[in-house]
């Protein structure tokens, strides 16, 4: 659709096949693939850890693993899933791959720093693997002091070191994305023509750059206290028991938006494409993204309602938490309104996007319960919280990641994935997910504390349901792994634009060449310029018209 491919021009996948050409590449697309391989590996490591946890929890007694092992398992699960899977997931893979394509650039602003990001991530990852070999760590992903600094017997230093290093990977990715978005937009790609995915990456990067260093320093202090014996947090030497929590959550609440903003970007792309509709309220969607990123910094104290924080601070943080929900609400309403008068089809990416909508909304609304101080006092540190964040992070963010992966799979690999299998997996995932995590809301409200290796028998029914769901969910995650890998070896070529979608990334070949575009892409004057009536024939026409 965009003129013939120059003869003998390889796509980025064939542009060199030595290991060296991969490990020393500065091509953002190849770095994205490197990241994708690494995070997929870690997703399954984190999943394997929690698989054992869910098996243990089938019975109230602690009969499968010892208490210490149990604690290490959920800690490893949390650390890996948060820092080595979900935070880099969409930004470092889809973001890395698509950001330059979507703005019509040849690469990110600092390609070598991009490669450095990957090496930093891998260095952090090796620390994490070393931590596993050294016997794991049992502090919870939150590293609360003084337990982590003075009491734990786990490999806290190595674990914290790994997280610290991977943090610098995030920071550099963030800097790179921000600079790229500001300086490498192709002529005509004005700020308000950017796809929402780019905006989401931009907002995410802001949070990465401004929040991550605080975590880094906090971990340095934890390590200094544990290793060198410098008193920073240790109450027995005058430390304030809550200081660590303030510093940790100053990062970790914004970090949850690092995890969800990219997902919101992906979903905006998918919904517009499969509803064949312009995005409803584009500018509001943009403002909402930036508002979430900024207001997200004001609410961290809602993790500390029972910590001994002052009652006044509780009220302030509670109020601000309600405020941060408003831009999220705007987004949910706009996605729904985008469907209005659309021409909707139900390919797998769209199914994932619907899943995201429902599950994110439930997760977000339960966030409002938690933001309500008296309710949180009851349900904090129970499975209610566990359910809340899995609804958003697994039901929301992971669904969006998988949706995005399917949506851009043809672009990334040049191959089509098996649609029927993909739809089946998406639906299976939705059911498995709800079966796993809905019972956790109920048992959480009934008082089942989290991080419990043994528990009173009256909660067993819920735990059994949840473990059953986890098995379904695990199977549903193995499916895409299998069929996507298989699809790599089929000969079903995807063509440049299998979805007849509108972003610039679809104006180049699949897979794209090393420098992304054979000829300057043409920027339409509005993003998501789908024909108002939808329908495949008209789409083909407008596309040709554009190219001419």
């Amino acid at each position: 659709m965009n003129g013939p491919i120059p003869v003998g021009r390889p796509d980025y996948l064939r542009d060199g096949s030595t290991l060296r050409s991969w490990l020393f590449t500065t091509d953002h697309k190849r770095i994205a693939i490197l990241f994708a391989i690494a995070i997929t590996f870690f997703f399954f490591v984190g999943g394997a850890a929690i698989t054992i946890v869910r098996m243990e929890l089938v019975t109230p007694a602690g009969d499968l693993v010892s208490d210490d092992t149990y604690n290490k398992l959920f800690t490893i699960h949390g650390i890996i899933m948060v820092w080595f899977f979900l935070i880099p997931s969409i930004p470092a893979t889809l973001g890395n791959f698509l950001l330059p394509l979507m703005i019509g650039a040849e690469d990110l602003a600092f390609p070598r720093i991009n490669l450095l990001s990957w090496y930093l991530y891998m260095a952090g990852a090796s620390f994490t693997l070393a931590m596993l070999v050294l016997g794991g760590v049992d502090t919870g992903w939150t590293f609360y002091t003084p337990y982590s600094t003075m009491f734990s017997n786990g490999a806290v230093l190595v674990a914290a070191g790994g997280v610290l290093i991977s943090g610098f990977s995030s920071i550099l990715t963030g800097v790179n994305f921000i600079a790229t978005t500001h300086t490498l937009r192709t002529p005509g790609m004005t700020w308000f023509r950017l796809p929402l995915f780019v905006w989401a990456m931009y907002a995410t990067s802001l949070v990465m750059v401004l929040a991550t260093p605080v975590l880094a320093m906090t971990l340095v202090l934890v390590m200094a206290e544990r290793w060198l014996g410098l008193p920073f947090f240790d109450p027995s030497r005058g430390g304030d028991p809550l200081l660590f929590q303030h510093l940790f959550w100053f990062y970790s609440h914004p970090a949850v938006y690092i995890m969800i903003l990219p997902a919101m970007g992906v979903v905006s792309e998918i919904i517009t494409c499969f509803a064949r509709r312009r995005l409803f309220g584009y500018s509001f969607m943009v403002y909402a993204l930036v508002a979430i990123a900024v207001i997200g910094f004001f609410v961290w104290g809602h993790h500390m309602f029972v910590s001994g924080q002052s009652a006044y601070a509780n009220l302030v943080f509670s109020f601000l938490s309600f405020m941060v929900a408003v831009p999220s609400a705007i987004k949910v309403f706009n996605w729904t309104a985008t469907l209005y008068r659309g021409s909707i089809t139900f390919e797998a990416p769209m199914l994932y996007a619907f899943g995201f909508l429902g599950l994110f909304t439930i997760g977000g609304l339960t966030g409002l319960f938690l933001a309500t101080v008296p309710i949180d006092i009851h349900v904090t540190d129970t499975y209610f919280v566990v359910a809340h964040f899995h609804y958003i992070m697994v039901g929301g963010a992971v669904s969006a990641y998988l949706g995005g992966l399917h949506y851009w799979w043809p672009k990334i690999t040049g191959k089509r994935y098996p649609e029927a299998w993909a739809r089946f997996a998406a639906i299976l995932m939705f059911f498995g997910f709800n079966l796993t995590f809905f019972p956790q809301f109920v048992m959480g409200y009934l008082g089942m504390p989290r991080r419990y290796h043994v528990y009173p028998p009256e909660f067993q029914v819920y735990h059994v349901l949840s473990s059953g769901g986890a098995a379904v969910l695990g199977a549903a995650y193995l499916l895409p792994l299998a069929y996507l890998l298989v699809s790599l070896f089929t000969n079903e070529r995807a063509g440049p634009n299998p979805w007849h979608a509108k972003g610039l990334e679809w104006q180049t070949t699949s897979p794209p060449p090393r420098l992304n575009f054979d000829r300057q892409p043409i920027v339409p004057n509005v993003p998501y310029d789908y024909h108002p009536k939808g329908g495949p024939v008209e789409r083909e026409e407008t596309a040709n018209g554009d190219a001419a």
Binding site: P100, D107, L108, V175, P213, V220, L221, P231, L515
Partner: protein, 211 residues
Amino acid sequence: MSDAYLHPPWKDLNRQHQAVTFGMWVFLASEVLLFGGLFAGYTIYRDLYSRGFLAAGHQTSIVFGTINTAILMTSSLTMAVAGRAARAALLRTARLMLMATFFLGVLFLILKGFEYREDIQKGLFPGHGFPLTAAGAQIFFSFYWVMTGIHALHVTGGLAAVLRLIIASARNREWLAGSTSEEATALYWHLVDVIWIILYPLLYLAGRVNG
């Protein structure tokens, strides 16, 4: 000739220059927040243990601290002049000033090393046998070590970047005039100076009055 400075994916030197300085500024924002956590902790404890902090602050070496502040400020001056000279194509001055910067940075680290030795001789590393008993004194010195330690790491990083400029400009005299690395390095170096300027009153000026 300006192509020599262009790195992919850039096609225009001006644009590349803009991106590099802007990127560096964004990175510096991140660096500032790295120290932000330390400042916050320091503030909380200083409020809680004001007496201990003053007593401990009295023990740091005002002489080393002040001389080092002056040195770092002067290195900032030489760095700033280097940049201006490079842009005015006064390449010899630029190189000389870079070397001066490097020299001052190394001097800073050497003095810091002597100061550390003195601190350790005085037993000022928190732990058993710490000489000060006032509550919070050990916490003050924990901050002292981590703040100055992390800052020294930054100085070392900055020195490496300056050294790189010196070497590259030795190979090719013209290089400094159009390179974008010079400006990025300078920004980083100045930030290291700014951080020290803030650390100075926190660590060295506390408790000078009644000790």
